[in-house]
């Protein structure tokens, strides 16, 4: 391998300078001989060789020792024999400028072959040496084994440095004295996704956050100018385009004189720590905001009962204007405040919420009265809290406080109002009961007192009709018959009115009723009057919730009506049916009688209302009112549909006894 360093021609000039110096120092006749002796004895490796044949004409002692050849052996050898890296042609090409006289000398590095076959690196200085009649070359050989070793060691050390710098987790770089970047480690390129070419000079600007860049440049310039450590947080754009926060640190490297030669810089990724720190600070700030603004009071204490923190709500709840006055320990606080139970029993400081919490208790909504000892001030507060532990054995007592004074007052007011109301209700109930009793007595009186004269009318008209039959003519007797009929009607009215009022007063006993058997029993009472009626009963297998007597009254009246109003129909027919609807049973009684005009629908359930003439359809006008009243009392409903001359249908709606189960089965059914 030949690597000629043509610019090194200067050193050859130096050699000739030695020659001229010698000329100046000694007489010319001695000089030749002394120079020859000097050359011969020189321990440096010096040769003279024929430029044409390349055969050695002279070799110094140093040359003989270095090569291990005797001088005689050397005389028979050419330069090419000890410089085996060359062949004839390559060597001729190398020395062509010397041969042509364009150059005085040249320097090149090659290997010398020793007699024992080993090689050593040399730097050869070859110079034209004109002799009368022929051209010679003077070759001065420098053994560069040591230099090579040093170079290799340097290269190795540099390589090791790069390996190290490439393996450290940081991005690393080297900048020149002037601050321009010379080198970046592999991590830099990996992280930034750049190439060495892009990073030359000021290329590093490109990967910095543009907003921060001016300041970074200024700081860097400042560091370069002053030689002070550069230390700054920067944002570097990664290969993915995202910026991360790095801590950049650069130290100057100085030589023995203390002059800055280079800068060595590292960029440490502190993004995660930074973000964590930001998050922590944010969380702290949020916590602070929450604490400052929360509606509940918060008091924090340490184990020595020192009150460390009061949030504004807590201060307000305690009517504290000056926090310094109470932010001592609990004992200071106890000089100003007194705590007692809601009922007024004063608590000792050992029974105070904070003391109990510090004793290990967890408190939930402990309601206490807080009183200021120095002025007329009292609130009712609700305390909750516990000791919260963190780290090892460390902990704080947290006490949250709600001001429930208003609620407490409201509760008391409500309780008073309730007592008041209860009192009023019982008063009213008593009044109502008295009224009801009065009404009952009234009905009793009516029943007794109205019936007594009726008995007289009925009794004496009967006696008259029986005992004085002969004394009256036909007309007189018919008058008496009318008197008796009127008496009968009056009696029915009174009885109806009594039943109605009784229905209103009587206690209900709601129970599950099997509809089918209930209706057959009821219809048995109508056996005679139903003789000529086509009766259809289809009430399924429903159980309903009703008061048996109330239901009987309602149904009896409806059946009564159905019979009465269909009596004049050619083929009287009555249908009693039942169906379920939304947890209710709808029972219908339909007849094909004379029906009624829906225009009068509103009137039919009113007491004493009649839509037909008494002589056609006798009645008191109480029946449907009874039905309505009975249904109302049982929480059911009654309604009707009809058309004049086209029969009527009355519906009763009552809750099914097993409504819940049947609903469930519907939902869960297929």
């Amino acid at each position: 391998m030949i690597s000629p360093t043509k610019n090194r021609a200067d050193s050859l000039v130096g050699v000739s300078r030695v020659k001229f110096d010698m000329v100046a120092l000694i007489p010319i006749e001695n000089a030749q001989a002394r120079l020859a002796g000097f050359l011969e004895q020189s321990l440096s490796e010096i040769y003279l060789l024929n430029a044409q044949t390349l055969l050695f004409e002279f070799a110094s002692k140093g040359a003989q020792r270095n090569l291990g050849h005797e001088v005689d052996a050397l005389r028979a050898m050419t330069l090419l024999e000890i410089q085996p890296e060359f062949d004839e042609a390559s060597f001729q090409a190398l020395i062509a400028p010397l041969m042509g006289g364009e150059k005085e000398g040249l320097v090149y590095e090659t290997m010398h072959l020793r007699a024992d076959g080993t090689l050593y690196p040399v730097e050869a200085h070859l110079q034209r040496f004109e002799q009368p009649g022929h051209l010679e070359f003077l070759a001065i050989i420098l053994d560069i084994t040591h230099r090579r070793r040093t170079e290799a060691a340097l290269q190795e050390s540099e390589a090791r440095f790069r390996v190290i710098v490439d393996t450290i987790p940081q991005l690393a770089w080297i900048a020149g004295r002037d601050g321009s970047r010379l080198w970046h480690n592999q991590r830099w390129y990996d992280y930034t996704g750049t190439t060495p070419g892009e990073m030359q000079g000021c290329g590093w600007h490109k990967v910095h956050d543009p907003e921060m860049l001016p300041m970074i440049i200024e700081n860097w310039k400042n560091a370069v100018a002053t030689g002070q450590t550069f230390d700054m947080e920067v944002k570097l754009r990664g290969a993915d385009g995202q910026h991360r926060i790095f801590l950049t640190r650069a130290e100057p490297l100085r030589n023995a004189d203390g002059r800055i030669v280079q800068w060595f810089g590292t960029d440490t990724d502190v993004n995660d720590q930074k973000l964590a720190e930001i998050t922590r600070r944010e969380t702290e700030k949020q916590l602070q905001v929450v604490m400052e603004n929360m509606h509940d009071g918060l008091v924090i204490s340490d184990f020595s009962r020192k009150l460390l923190h009061w949030n504004p709500a807590a201060l307000k709840m305690h009517d504290i204007d000056d926090p310094e006055a109470v932010l001592g320990d609990l004992d200071t606080f106890a000089k100003i405040y007194e705590l007692s139970t809601v009922d007024g029993a004063v608590l000792s400081i050992d029974q105070w919420p904070l003391t109990r919490i510090l004793g290990g208790e967890h408190l939930h909504d402990l309601e206490l009265r807080l009183r200021r000892l120095d002025r007329d001030w009292e609130r009712v507060l609700s305390y909750s809290g516990a000791v919260l532990h963190y780290d090892d054995g460390k902990g704080l007592a947290f006490l949250t406080i709600k001001d429930i004074t208003e609620r407490k007052y409201a509760e008391e007011a409500l309780r008073d109002a309730k007592i008041n109301l209860e009192h009023k209700v019982s008063e009213r109930t008593a009044q109502l009961l008295a009224k009801s009793k009065e009404l009952e007595n009234f009905c009793y009186s009516v029943s007794h007192d109205l019936r007594a004269p009726l008995r007289g009318i009925a009794g004496y008209s009967r006696l008259l009709l029986d005992g004085y039959h002969e004394c009256l003519d036909e007309e007189g007797r018919s008058f008496l018959v009318n008197v008796r009929a009127a008496t009968k009607h009056m009696t029915d009215l009174i009885e109806g009115l009594l039943s109605y009022s009784k229905l209103e007063r009587r206690k209900l006993s709601t129970t599950a009723i099997k509809l089918s058997s209930f209706i057959s029993r009821l219809l048995a009472q109508f056996q005679d009057s139903l003789k000529n009626v086509r009766l259809t009963v289809d009430v399924g297998d429903f159980d309903i919730n009703a008061d048996p007597e109330g239901l009987a009254i309602a149904l009896r009246n409806l059946v009564d009506n159905a019979i009465k109003f269909s009596r004049c129909t050619a083929e009287p027919a009555i249908e009693i049916r039942a169906r379920s609807a939304d947890g209710f049973c709808v029972l219908s009684v339909r007849d094909n009688g004379i029906g009624f005009d829906m225009h009068f629908y509103e009137k039919i359930f009113e007491i004493f209302q009649r839509l037909h003439r008494a002589e056609d359809y006798p009645g008191t006008g109480i029946g449907l009112a009874m039905v309505y009243k009975a249904m109302e009392r049982m929480g059911g409903q009654v309604w009707a549909e009809s058309e004049r001359g086209a029969g009527a249908v009355f519906y009763l709606q009552l809750p099914l006894a097993n409504a819940v189960e049947s609903d469930t089965s519907t939902i869960n059914g297929p």
């Binding site: 009793y444 029943s447 007794h448 019936r451 007594a452 004269p453 009726l454 008995r455 007289g456 009925a458 009794g459 004496y460 009967r462 006696l463 008496t487 009968k488 009696t491 009594l498």
Partner: protein, 144 residues
């Protein structure tokens, strides 16, 4: 017949008294009917009795009486040493369950609702008459 024990009727309504009397007459039954016209009169009657005086065979008692109620009179009858065992028929126009219950509780032997219908009234009279007749048959009455 004069030895027959009387029926005591405690009734304020004169028409009812007359109709009762006539209902009995309709059965051709002549018997002594003593009438007391209000509750106070009844209590006085009870209080004024001498020991050993003959007791009525049956007492017909209206409940709604002026001054003192029929139930109070009934209580007084049952508390009396002689009258205590005399059958009492409550004859009233009140069908009130409370009255019926109370009357039986106080020792009424029968509770008959006064009917507006005279025929039914006569029926009642006949029942009472039957009872009276049996009671007055010599050798039957426990009191004779």
């Amino acid at each position: 017949m004069n030895t027959a024990l009387p029926i005591l009727l405690i009734e304020d309504n004169p028409m009812d008294v007359d109709l009762t009397r006539r209902a009995f007459i309709r059965h051709n039954l002549a018997y002594p009917l003593e009438v007391l016209r209000d509750g106070q009169e009844a209590l006085d009657f009870i209080a004024g009795r001498r020991a050993g005086e003959p007791v009525p065979s049956v007492i017909l008692l209206d409940l709604k009486l002026p001054k003192v109620s029929g139930l109070d009179v009934l209580r007084a009858i049952r508390a009396h040493p002689d009258l205590g065992t005399v059958p009492v028929v409550v004859l009233t126009s009140s069908a009130d369950d409370g009255d019926v219950h109370q009357a039986y509780k106080l020792g009424a032997n029968s509770y008959i609702l006064k009917s507006v219908d005279f025929e039914k009234f006569i029926d009642v009279a006949r029942q009472i008459e039957l009872y009276w007749t049996v009671l007055n048959t010599p050798g039957f009455s426990k009191r004779v």
